[in-house]
Symmetry: C2
Subunit: 520 residues, 2 copies
Amino acid sequence: MEEQFGGKPWIKIISPKISPPSLKDNTADVDRLIKGIKKCLQTERISVDFSLVKNLPQTLRKCDYNIDAAVFEDQNGWHLIDIFSAHKENRIHGMAVDLGSSTVVARLVDLPSQEIRDEISFHNPQVQIGTDILTRIHFAAQEGGLEELQTLLVERLNSEIHLLAKKHHIDTSSIVAISVAGNTTMTHLFLGLDPYWICREPYIPVINKPDQIRSKELGLEINPEAPVLVFPNVGSYFGGDLIAGILASGMMDRHAPSILIDVGTNAEVVVGNCDWLMACAGAAGPALEGGVAHMGMMAGPGVIDHVRIGPHSGQFTIKTIGNNPAVGICGSGLIDLIAELFLAGMIDERGKYVIRKCGDRLKEIDDIKHLVIVPPEDSKTGHALTLSQPDIDALMRSKAAMYTILTTITNTVNVPMHEVSRFYIAGTFGSFIDPQSAITIGMLPDLPLKTYIPLRNTSLEGATMALLSAEAREEIFRIRDQTTYLELNVNQEFMNAFSAAKFIPHTDRSLFPSVKVRAS
Amino acid sequence: MEEQFGGKPWIKIISPKISPPSLKDNTADVDRLIKGIKKCLQTERISVDFSLVKNLPQTLRKCDYNIDAAVFEDQNGWHLIDIFSAHKENRIHGMAVDLGSSTVVARLVDLPSQEIRDEISFHNPQVQIGTDILTRIHFAAQEGGLEELQTLLVERLNSEIHLLAKKHHIDTSSIVAISVAGNTTMTHLFLGLDPYWICREPYIPVINKPDQIRSKELGLEINPEAPVLVFPNVGSYFGGDLIAGILASGMMDRHAPSILIDVGTNAEVVVGNCDWLMACAGAAGPALEGGVAHMGMMAGPGVIDHVRIGPHSGQFTIKTIGNNPAVGICGSGLIDLIAELFLAGMIDERGKYVIRKCGDRLKEIDDIKHLVIVPPEDSKTGHALTLSQPDIDALMRSKAAMYTILTTITNTVNVPMHEVSRFYIAGTFGSFIDPQSAITIGMLPDLPLKTYIPLRNTSLEGATMALLSAEAREEIFRIRDQTTYLELNVNQEFMNAFSAAKFIPHTDRSLFPSVKVRAS
């Protein structure tokens, strides 16, 4: 995707020419530096934060006024970040961060070359306070809770930054900018802003568009004057991670409408084009993320991501990530499995087990039907991996919710589904999902397969783009202002559509002409 | 003077209308506030410093979004200083400070009404480190010295601010701006900037034009986000106090050239008009400031400020400040005295005592001639107040230096002295001096007396003007950029002129047609 974000950089290292002072030119040190930078950048607007002023003369004099300067631009012109002796080669770096509530992913980027030097990921240490966002919001309301949540994150980020710097033999002061995309609550906790009102009607964040922040204000151990670009949010339930996703997809550059979905704890959906963007979010996720099914888990080694059932043999062909012995199943594997069970006639349109088709694989445990997917001898744990009827029921609700949200939002903006030119699927989910299976179970609409475009970590990708390009950075604010958030009105009409979608693929089969049950 | 600077204020208190959040309008608190302020100010450019963001929601909610906001404007648009509950009346205040090396004078101003609520003055606590600037510069170079000098000043200023706030029943957080005019070294010490290079060739300040600073960065205990307007300097020897003086005089608004002099430890001279300003400084001061003469002292109760000698009686009529018993003489008194002694024929053109004219008043003490000005019985101390021959010699050098500087600078800019339309004399010196006496001794040029305009504390006046008016604040930067500093070249030509000026009034009597020795 990177070639998309050429664009002009907003962070630069320059080598201004500065003549040492003399009796003939007694301009002060700071003003002399500013004059040199103005000439070099051909601008009239350059500001130097007062906290930098104190030490500038010493640095200027130590290297005989022979310096490189790191600068960045915003709507108020250029700003000095730091100066370095030009007697050695100076490289400047940036960090792009996807601030996930469970996992944080960060990239170290060499700024002038735009080369990604490294990418690391680690568990969000706030998980120790609570795995879900609501627990953290409640914890933040306790005495000192907000500070603790912020400190946990910032300290972990700092230790990762120090490790990265050591590994790549760079000084942390050479990291002169950072861009951070996360959902609204995560962004608030990162900034030390109280998320109290985010989860309370009428769901008001402290801030939508954070203004210029310097890293020292957050305790980040990169260059203290490094600008921190924090992605804006549209509201409590539509955060900077999604704005980054829209940016990474490029959907706001095309005339034909596209859809972007991001399936996490919530299912977030955006539909739009270069003129408008409509977004909504709904609880569709847990089952898809592997958080509900009995054997469900996040993608990882040994996790089942693809399943095929032989049309004649009825034999299960199971693929796990890394081809390790099976330990569980992830969302995309579950979709595959349900689709195959349906195509093989082992579950019916309502998602119920068809006893005569399941044979020996179907067991009753505590009066609940379980289908053995991986027998004990093939699993890593030595126990059978099974799919229970309630697991299927949960997925049926999730897929119905997703489909209903998709139809509701496209109906709202009056875009017939077949006019959707591209359908982006973000996240880990997107990179594993088999669109055909998702269509088969009626979770995704029956569009030509080439319409579906998996995107990996769009939040990280968007954060990287905005770090590297002034246009991309401006674009995120345009996206924010252009996005209308649709509050899903869970009324009778929605519930009717939801009920109709709780069948495989749907009560209205004409919506899914490509889905054909195999001859049995 | 204040009526000159109506102008538009750059600090305001406004009452933006902010509707509380609802499900229909889920704009974040900060963005909601910004929206309200934008509408109220009819501007698109308003920024909120990140350090303010944290507590805004609590304040907004506590007063049901019914707030007043203190804001200020600079070249980057408007900036929020603070918000206050509108359930009570909010007054905002500013401070204007003349940062003298011996005395600090500060005003508390009610901002909307521009009414001066109070004016205080106190000795600069840095005097305990050193009375002269050079000692302080050397002290600043020691380990921790700079911090100590800054802390001394800031802490004293803070305690005065708290006293003022208490006296006027206001909260220190209602003081939302401060403007500070001082010489270049004092300004550096106030800002915690190293003055090391100010007194070393080629005499380079750290900074000429300090950019936006907030009070919290200096530890000032007023509103933490209050902008601190620090007057710029032209160089190490032409500081913000003089720029404030030029502003207060209004000389840059007129076509006809004016002269401004400020006599302190140095004599500083500015000549110019609306198109150009030329400035220089030279050591002319000590004798005039009362720092040299045996009985000399700064103006104060009992200090002689006017002297007349009866043309026939030879009787001394002595006026002291407050009509208290005499304790000493100040610069302006000394000028009066020397002029009268000359007119009475008691000293000759070289400033030497004429024995036959002085009579009994002349005593020899340790082989040095002393003239009794106040006999023991009339002085406060019970000792005679005397003027020695070396005292007169010192004043002769000072007055010659002043006159030579004046002729040098006017020659440089090619303005004949008689074309000078106004001659401003700043400072305490200016408010006591008798221009006729200064002309008589040849210190000031022989211009019509109405040309001479005494100004009081122009540094404080200028600081007040720039605090109150956006135009005045812009003007100080225009003055700075327009001022050329003339490095006085003490060459043979200067020394010749200086020698010629060491006579009363001058070797060239035609320059002083109004000075006529009384018939004796």
